[in-house]
Amino acid sequence: MDTMNDRLVIAGREFQSRLWVGTGKYKDFAETKKAIDASGADVVTVAVRRVNITDRSKENLLDYLDPKKYIILPNTAGCYTVEDAVRYARLARAAGVSDLVKLEVIGDEKTLFPDTAGLIEAAKILIKEGFIVLPYTNDDPIVAKKLVDIGCPAVMPLAAPIGSGLGIRNPYNLKIIMETVKVPIIVDAGVGTASDAALAMEYGADAVLMNTAIAGAQDPIAMAEAMKYGVWAGRLAYKAGRIPRKLYATASSPIEGML
């Protein structure tokens, strides 16, 4: 299969890469850029924060990530209420160039699990305002369905808590989400290493989004590349169709011709 022609389409937009990456936690912008290039990702998430007005010597992330080359996906990270999430989404749109937003309404500081009731409420408001809302949600099939019903063109269920590196904790729920909703599924958060990304894709995810697994690795650039191949391998295996699991052996060498 030609991976270049296996494009992901969300709300009429074409995405070249099925690995999406965050831009946080890197040593500096140069490392961020190198890791993103190694990952092959064309979608990068960013946060919206106050400009440092006292030290203007600080470089801007967009000096390194040309918005013409990358799809900039702003998030509402750090928002714990519907009001804050909506406010940050609007600010992101005002600061940027598109209506895309990765919507997060966080429910709890310790787990960073989404507040799914708040998420649905905020998504409704933003969709009415013309946003393309990609919601960071729990691995809950009912919530995923509700998000799609109100107009989200994709859903982003977590694999595990943000930054935990635990991998896919509930593959069965993810599978149910994939069978329940007919929009692209982007597994977001909790991936630890390349095999986690491959597994997510093998289960049938349309893309995987990660940050810490790359930025926090001992060699972020090498891990970014590993993630690229993990996602490719998983996608290819999914499209190829794996063999069923069986309890007993099946010989792969013929019996005929044996002495």
Binding site: T23, G24, L61, T212
Partner: protein, 68 residues
């Protein structure tokens, strides 16, 4: 007159517009969102929108972030 910019007090000249403030701060207007007294401004209004004593201005832009 004195206004609040990103939570800090700042003296600016009378009749300053949002665009003039951004120039003074050496901030590129095409990379930021500006909120004036909780109202998010349209970028095309930066040149004409005047600032008044006590205004609260928030200037935000994209920074590195994944989730949370």
């Amino acid at each position: 007159m004195t206004i609040q910019v990103n939570g800090e007090s700042r003296g600016i000249g009378d009749g300053h517009t949002v665009a003039a403030l951004l120039r003074e701060l050496d901030i590129r207007a095409d990379r930021v969102a500006v909120e004036l007294n909780l109202e998010i401004l349209d970028r095309k209004d930066f040149e004409t929108r005047g600032l008044r004593e006590g205004d609260r201005v928030e200037i935000l832009s994209f920074i590195g972030g994944g989730a949370e």
